[in-house]
């Protein structure tokens, strides 16, 4: 198998070279203000194709930018974005076959602070709510539940609504699995309305906005050498929950609400998107969970949620509401289904060195193991936090059976306040580790005996975690705004506060460790960012992403150092442009920047 990966790698490199030849065109110039002064740190986004692809670069200290690698003789749309200035949008810019086309871009300062406030990522608005939550239990609960699937503080969530409308929204969210204590739920409408009232919010958010460069400093030169590529994938009813980079160089993504597996090839000029409809086993809308509170535009019957590649290049998928595992063979595009022998809502999966599929089972509080070689299944019950919770969890299957005859709600798709096994990964020694999101615990499973050990985390909401090459476990604290390192040898945690401003407003959903460098990459799920953490120097770097409402849930890496994720805010219509994207950050590698402006300009 290793030799085939070598072939894949060679193919990938050849493909990248070919792509750069095909895509030799682009634009270069300067981003200036109305007085002709340079604007550093502006995001220049160029869109082309259908479905669209966008490439974003940053302007340097002299305002210079260069965006290359675009298809020649093609019409492009350009948007320039910098907080403090109005978005510049311009259509029908033609690339040339002769190379980079000159294009200077002039931005106009905002004169209305409300417009500036509207440009800020959701976490800035969200800070206004958190300021009003003085009780730590309430704050933690609000963070964990009210950003469970979407950003809190984006345009859609910061509407001022009457109390009754908020009550109905909160009741609907509870049915979708993100419930609040009754006492907190009763206070939330006023809390949100007062926090998001433009009369008070805009002045609070825009103090010092008149000096735009100081108000929103440009990213560091290292960050500004980065490139962000975004690929529209799926439609407006899609939720691209997780994505992976296949060893072949293809990108695979699961569209949870349309039961589709997507494949795309970033080496192809048009992205070469393909869609594979996942068999739905004749299940109805909502799958085995029924339609208590499905998204209204959903066609979800099996709900593909998480995916991984096995040693043979096949793709394994958890089908959350179908209660199935699926195997996709990229060679013949076939699916093979494997029903779960127990448990409800298969969630996140990983494939171990022995080719066994390990997966968390979120609603029923289990971890599952399936060995495709032998057909062996194990469903390991994870401890609940108390007797009452244990009884509730054990009765869920009964209630699901009973719901055929009596209408019952079994608690929503993500387990609501139930313990909810979530992220999962393997230590270098083969031990299986997982998190229990709502119980604030991690657990270890012996891969041979299936013996289980639980450990309380000294922070709340451990979500999707990963090991580094040295055997340290890195954990994002979703409602605790931190990155934590756990040493299984000593059982010690060391935590690092995420430096997203305003401090305390980030909700890191997931992370991954690039084991080539042991750099930890963290989802800036509430701030439209990706965050890197160098484990050797313990330094964070924040990479802003160009699309507003970029809610990310998983991260993977390509062989060239690209960092991939998907924008899976649910509902999708809240995402700027209303469609989901799969995106790649190429950190610090734009060779054209700083070489783009001829001397003397």
């Amino acid at each position: 198998m290793k030799s085939s990966y070598v072939v894949f790698a060679a193919t990938l490199i050849a493909g990248l070279v070919a792509a750069s030849i095909v895509h030799a065109a682009g634009f270069q110039g300067r981003v200036l203000d109305e007085q002709g002064e340079a604007i550093a740190g502006a995001m220049v986004t160029v869109r082309f194709g259908e479905p669209f692809q966008e490439r974003t670069v940053f302007s340097d200290d002299a305002g210079g930018y260069a965006v290359g690698g675009l298809p020649a003789e093609t019409s492009h749309r350009i948007r320039v974005r910098r907080i403090g200035w109005a978005d510049l949008r311009s259509w029908d810019h033609q690339t040339s076959a002769e190379g980079m086309a000159p294009l200077d871009l002039t931005m106009i300062r905002h004169t209305d602070p409300a417009e500036v406030a509207a440009q800020l990522p959701a976490n800035h608005w969200y800070a206004l709510v958190l300021d009003k939550l003085t009780d730590e239990h309430d704050r933690e609960q609000f963070v964990r539940q009210c950003t469970f699937c979407h950003q809190q503080g984006n345009r859609a969530t910061r509407l001022v609504r009457d109390k009754e409308e908020w009550d109905k929204v909160l009741a609907l969210m509870a049915r979708m699995g993100a419930g609040l204590d009754a006492e907190l739920a009763a206070r939330v409408p006023e809390l949100l309305n007062t926090a998001y009232d433009p009369a008070t919010a805009v002045p609070a958010l825009t103090q010092g906005w008149e000096d735009a460069h100081a108000f929103a400093p440009a990213p560091s030169p290292e960050v500004r050498r980065s490139i962000v590529d975004e690929y529209q994938l799926g439609g407006r009813s899609s939720v691209q929950h997780d994505m992976i980079v296949h060893p072949s160089g293809h990108i695979y993504s699961v569209d949870m609400t349309t039961d589709t597996l997507y494949r795309m090839d970033p080496r192809a000029p048009d992205g070469a998107r393909e869609a594979f409809v996942i068999p739905t086993e004749e299940l109805g809308l909502g799958g085995v969970l029924g339609s208590s509170a499905l998204p209204s535009n959903s066609d979800m019957r099996v709900g593909p949620h998480s995916l991984q590649v096995d040693g043979d290049g096949a793709i394994w998928i958890t089908l959350a509401v179908g209660n199935l595992l699926a195997k996709f063979d990229p060679e013949d595009s076939s699916f093979t289904m494997e029903p779960l022998p127990g448990g409800i809502y298969p969630h996140t999966l990983r494939v171990d060195d022995r080719g066994r599929i390990w997966y968390t089972i979120a609603v029923s509080n289990h971890v599952g193991m399936y060995d495709p070689g032998t057909g062996q299944h194990e469903v390991i019950r994870v401890p609940a936090r108390g007797f009452g919770e244990e009884v509730t969890l054990r009765l869920i299957p009964f209630f699901m059976w009973l719901s055929q005859y009596v209408d019952l709600d079994v608690g929503g798709s993500e387990g609501g306040g139930l313990p909810t096994p979530y992220g999962i990964d393997f230590a270098p020694n083969g031990d299986v580790w997982f998190s229990q999101l709502n119980a604030h615990r991690i657990g270890r499973i012996d891969p041979d005996t299936f013996e289980l050990t639980m450990i309380d985390t000294p922070f709340s909401a451990p979500r999707r975690m990963r090991f580094d090459s040295e055997g340290k476990l890195w954990i994002p604290g979703f409602s605790s705004n931190l990155l934590s390192r756990f040493d299984p040898e000593t059982s010690e945690f060391v935590s690092y506060t995420l430096p997203i401003e305003p401090l305390g407003t980030e909700t890191p959903y997931a992370l991954n460790v690039d084991r080539r460098s042991d750099t930890v990459w963290i989802c800036g799920t509430n701030s439209d960012t990706l965050i890197s953490f160098e484990t050797s120097t313990e330094e964070f770097t924040i990479y802003p992403l160009p699309t507003q409402v970029t809610y990310t849930r998983d991260i993977d890496f390509d062989k060239a150092g690209g960092v991939w994720t998907s924008n899976s805010n649910a509902p999708t219509w809240q995402i700027e442009t209303g469609v989901p994207r799969v995106l790649r950050l190429i950190p610090g590698r734009n060779p054209d920047v700083s070489m783009s402006i001829p001397a003397g300009r």
């Binding site: 869109r47 749309r77 948007r79 978005d87 949008r89 259509w91 859609a156 609504r161 009754e164 409308e165 109905k168 929204v169 009741a171 609907l172 049915r175 439609g235 407006r236 009813s237 809308l285 909502g286 029924g290 339609s291 208590s292 509170a293 499905l294 209204s296 535009n297 959903s298 007797f387 009884v391 009765l395 009964f398 009973l402 005859y405 009596v406 209408d407 019952l408 709600d409 219509w573 700027e576 442009t577 209303g578």
Partner: protein, 187 residues
């Protein structure tokens, strides 16, 4: 509590629930008939609503229901975006009127209008988030829906249980319309 005690609790719970499942066939049949009659009445009531004028909105979707429940109308447009009580307007211009709740006086009709509707497929869903008379689940509520699309009228009626979302009660296709895609660029 010891193992026997827990078992007894479980048996009692199961017995209690099952007791609610058996018996009362006649009662349930009578209830179903009453609900069917109510949904007929609601459909008749919707039919009596004023028709839109020829130069008026080309798509109007209405949901009628009784005072015993708070039902919510969801209309998903050809862009696959939904207008409902918490999203008042879609990018294609669909707008919802007043959210009719338990304490809303007057007509119990929710309405979504598309003044310049896009061509394509529309989906209508109905949610039942709350009973107004505190009847416990499943507490089905009757409804009727009409969708007036130019000169055509599409209809659906039935019941929806408490805390259930009927994702699709009606779908229809609009052949012609105005798709103002320019407004979606970089929005």
């Amino acid at each position: 509590m010891n193992r026997n005690g827990r078992g007894a609790v479980a048996i009692l719970l199961v017995a209690g629930v099952l007791q609610g499942c058996v018996g009362g066939e006649d009662e349930r049949a009578a209830e179903a008939a009453a609900l069917a009659e109510q949904s007929d009445d609601l459909a008749t009531h919707l039919e009596s609503q004023p028709k839109p004028s020829a130069d008026g909105p080309a798509v109007i979707v209405q949901l009628a229901f009784g005072p015993e429940a708070d039902l919510d109308l969801y209309v998903t447009d050809p862009l696959l975006e939904t207008v409902y009580f918490a999203r008042h307007e879609s990018r294609t211009g669909g707008r919802i009127g007043a959210d009719v709740r338990c304490d809303t006086p007057g007509e119990r009709i929710e309405e979504v209008r598309f003044a310049a509707p896009w061509p394509g497929r529309y989906r209508v869903g109905i949610d039942h988030p709350r009973r107004c008379d505190d009847e416990p689940a499943p507490a089905p509520a009757a409804y009727a829906v009409t969708a007036r699309v130019d000169s055509n009228t599409y209809r659906a009626q039935g019941t929806v249980d408490l805390e259930r979302f009927e994702v699709i009660v009606l779908e229809f296709e609009l052949q012609e319309g105005s798709a103002d895609e320019q407004r979606l660029e970089f929005d």
